[in-house]
């Protein structure tokens, strides 16, 4: 099978997750991705872990390996004029530069799009920042929790009157990465028509505010309705909720009345329980969801608390009720379904125990996903890229290293 992006050259001057996830997707589909890291320090994700045996080591960080397998790695200090010039040399025959410099810094270093375009008009430059290249907050700092706060995600997760909850881990960074990957493909497709590159402006705050929470704006302007935090349920005909059961939780969403009826029949051993059918309050599901949800939660509790989530799941599948267990990470990693499908991949570091990582997010029938090269150690491909690629001698490399350029 042909590797779809074979021949596409990407220079990745980005760290942590947002840029590197886009680089990972392109690399998995055949692009040659060269990761540029700061000499001595390297990508911050080398320090994130998790580490086999909990022993930190810059080459054994799970997050770094997951995102940067298959890429070649070089070191370069682009803040030094010599380093900057080497970057421009590397960009001469690259298709894409994926970078995350703060806009002020890019301008100061003369590595903004205007300058890069002069070096290579065909180059596609993808700039990934928290707030974008323009606007009053463009020089502001934001970690994942800050981007999801301003992006509107946090304000709808959690309980009313208590602090908003940010999505766990780094979901926002990954959303930014997949949006950047999309944008790169748009630019590659456009390049065929317009014969030149362009600048792409990606903002993490906008990954949330435009793509995830942007659509509710129409409702807000139309009817003044604002979504707020509503705890373990979403305003809807009852149920649209997560309720505790024996040793766990159940996700219960039934948009159709027939689905809800079938569940009640399970609870009532074949018939809708008397306490439900005889109560006026519950017959209008929308009203029940708005006014009597707490009461219903409590009435369902005895039955729920005497059945485990997997027991309930089995019954629900038999009766075509769309409720699912809320699984924990151990149950997910050991999930028979995911393992049988071969979804998980393994990271193996020489001398260390193998561990699982997620597999690819997409299954193609003709575009192979291949992660067969290990993640680079810091400066691993300096010789290859600088000597073989740019014609530097080994002595020159030593001198460049002595002066902290690479």
């Amino acid at each position: 099978m042909h590797k779809t992006l074979e021949g596409i050259k990407v220079i990745e001057l980005a760290q942590h997750i947002s840029g590197p996830y886009a680089g990972m997707l392109l690399s998995g589909l055949g692009a040659q991705v060269t990761k540029v890291e700061e000499p001595g320090v390297g990508d911050i994700s080398r320090r994130c872990g998790p580490f086999p045996d909990n022993k930190p080591h810059p080459d054994r960080s799970g997050l770094f390996i997951y995102l940067n397998r298959n890429k070649q790695g070089i070191t370069l200090d682009v803040r030094k004029p010599t380093g900057r010039q080497i970057l421009l040399d590397l960009l001469k025959d690259a298709h894409v530069l994926l970078e995350d410099l703060p806009p002020k810094v890019a301008r100061k270093l003369k590595l903004d799009y205007g300058h890069l375009k002069k070096a290579n008009p065909q180059l596609i430059v993808v700039s990934v920042t928290p707030f974008g290249q323009t606007g009053p907050y463009r020089d502001y700092k934001a970690y994942a929790i800050n981007a999801s706060a301003i992006g509107g995600m946090s304000s709808i997760i959690g309980e009313p009157k208590r602090e908003p909850l940010t999505p766990p881990f780094s979901l926002g960074h990954f959303q930014t990465g997949i949006i950047a990957a999309n944008a790169i493909m748009f630019a590659l497709m456009a390049r065929k028509r317009i014969g030149k590159g362009q600048h792409i402006d990606i903002s993490e705050a906008e990954s949330w505010a435009i793509f995830h929470t942007g659509n509710v704006v129409s409702s807000f302007v139309y009817s003044g309705r604002k979504r707020t935090r509503t705890g373990h349920r979403t305003p809807s005909p009852y149920p649209y909720t997560i309720l505790p059961c024996k040793e766990g939780y159940l996700s219960m969403i039934a948009l159709r009345g027939s689905e809800w009826k079938r569940f009640l029949e399970i609870v009532g051993n074949g018939n809708v329980p008397e306490w439900y059918s005889s109560d006026e309050r519950f017959q209008d599901r929308l009203k029940a969801g708005q006014q009597y949800a707490d009461i219903l939660d409590n009435l369902l509790a005895p039955w729920l608390m005497s059945h485990t989530k997997e027991e309930i799941f089995t019954r629900c599948r038999e009766e075509h009720v769309p409720f699912t267990p809320v699984r924990n990470m151990d149950e997910v990693v050991h999930c028979e379904h995911l393992n049988q499908r071969g979804y998980f991949e393994e990271i193996e570091y020489p001398g260390e125990k193998k561990f699982k990582c997620p597999g690819p997010p997409i299954r193609f029938s003709r575009s192979p996903w291949q992660m067969d090269k290990p993640a680079p150690s810091l400066s691993e491909h300096n010789d290859k890229v600088y000597c073989e690629g740019l014609g530097y001698s080994k002595e020159q490399l030593v001198q460049l290293r002595n002066m902290d350029v690479i």
Binding site: Y137, G151, T324, M329, R366
Partner: protein
């Protein structure tokens, strides 16, 4: 003359609700011709969302937002003639998109093998919740429940309290973004190697691929994060803090010692910041609950914007938790034009999110509002498929174009 990245490509969109429609929306924004196949027998439920009190299928604001730039045809696929017409359309199209439960397209006689027989280079993409094969392949559930099956919901709740969950169709939207990317990869592949393919985005898998940290941690140490609140294992100060006003919060996060020092100075170097309990990052992490209380005492005297301004000035990450109205009025978002008004014949003016990908030479655009039901029947059946006016009328009478 504006050039669009995907102009000239035709996509048949059988999508409903979120996953497929959000993917095709992004592609339509960038110039693809997306033909939404609808039927009166089973309308997209998004046409009747909670904000559409009129129950008029042309008046749902969320539908307008998600389906702008698309065309709409009506077609009953349970009718063999309907299927024949789709097959004719497939022959002149590039991509088929669907997010039905596995098996539905096959029942219509429109599964990948069938479509490949009609057009070998066709690209088809499906969005099964859990995948078409495996022990859970029979599971049919709603989008928000997938976050539960993937382990995400188990971590969403106040620290060590009950599970609350994401309470939204997060897996769907994540899958949609990966789907749009996948379609482009397949188009690019076809341009280079002249072959189509079948793509599958199992929504659980696409979600897990964006959650590597807890997967790997569990595999290495068996760790099971419960509800983690806003806790970070790298930052002691990492939370949403209460501000002046009702339900007003600001996010603050400090990673480095330098940021901590700048923060202390910015809040006036109060004596509590100099106590032993907060002398270094580790101690601050151990004493974070008390630290959060101290910080809240300060933030309660300010609005979220004031906190942001004071802290960002000294290089500290702080942003307000913004709700819909806040984002609408936010000066940065306004300058960036994240929202745009579109005229719709049935609702007047809709405010919708702008195109997400900002490209300098070939930006996307909102060129037309969301389509009315069957608005483009004449164009698709007449112009594209060459049916006469009489043939179309007869198909409408016989409820095939329905």
């Amino acid at each position: 003359m504006t050039t669009y990245p995907l102009e000239g490509y035709r996509i048949i969109d059988f999508g409903w609700a979120a996953a497929a429609p959000r993917a095709t929306c992004l592609l339509a924004d960038m110039g693809a011709e997306v033909i939404k196949v609808e039927t009166q027998k089973r309308l997209d439920p998004v046409r009747f969302g909670p904000d559409n009190l009129t129950r008029d299928p042309e008046k749902d604001p969320l539908f307008h937002s998600i389906n702008r730039n698309k065309l709409s045809i009506l077609l009953d696929l349970t009718h063999p003639q309907g299927v024949e017409l789709i097959k004719k359309l497939v022959k002149i199209s590039d991509v088929v998109v669907e997010n039905f439960s596995p098996g539905v397209m096959k029942r219509f006689g429109l599964d990948y093998d069938e479509l490949k027989g009609i057009k070998p280079e066709i690209i088809m993409i499906s969005f099964p919740g859990v995948g078409r094969e495996g022990p859970l392949a029979d599971v049919v559930t709603y989008g928000p429940s997938l976050a539960g099956l993937a382990g995400l919901d188990s971590m969403v709740g106040y620290e060590d309290e009950r599970v609350l969950g994401m309470q939204q169709a997060y897996a769907d939207i994540n899958a949609a973004l990966h789907g749009a990317f996948a379609i482009q990869i397949a188009l690019y592949h076809r341009e280079t190697y002249a072959e189509g393919q079948h793509i599958e985005i199992p929504q659980i898998e696409a979600l897990l691929s964006t959650m590597p940290e807890p997967v790997m941690a569990n595999s290495i140490t068996g760790s099971i994060p419960g509800t983690i609140g806003n806790r970070s294992n790298l930052m002691a100060v990492h939370n949403n803090y209460p501000c002046m006003g009702t339900d007003k919060w600001v996010s603050i996060a400090l990673l480095t010692e330098q940021e901590w020092k700048a923060f202390c100075k910015a809040i006036g170097s109060p004596s509590w910041t100099k106590t032993d309990s907060y002398a270094d990052g580790y101690r601050r992490w151990v004493n974070r609950k008390e630290l959060d209380r101290r910080i809240s005492e300060w933030t309660m005297t300010k609005t979220p914007s004031e906190v942001m301004e004071i802290l960002q000035k000294v290089g500290v990450a702080a942003t307000p938790c913004e709700d819909t109205e806040d984002r609408f009025l936010d000066p940065h978002f306004q300058e960036r034009q994240i929202l745009i008004d579109v005229e719709h014949p049935s609702t007047g003016v809709d405010w919708v999110p702008n195109v997400i990908c900002r490209l300098s030479e070939t930006p996307g655009a909102i060129r037309r509002p969301a389509p009315r039901l069957g608005e483009h029947n004449d164009y698709v059946f007449g112009e594209l498929l060459g049916l006469t006016k009489e043939e179309i009328e007869r198909l409408i009478e016989n409820k095939i174009i329905f």
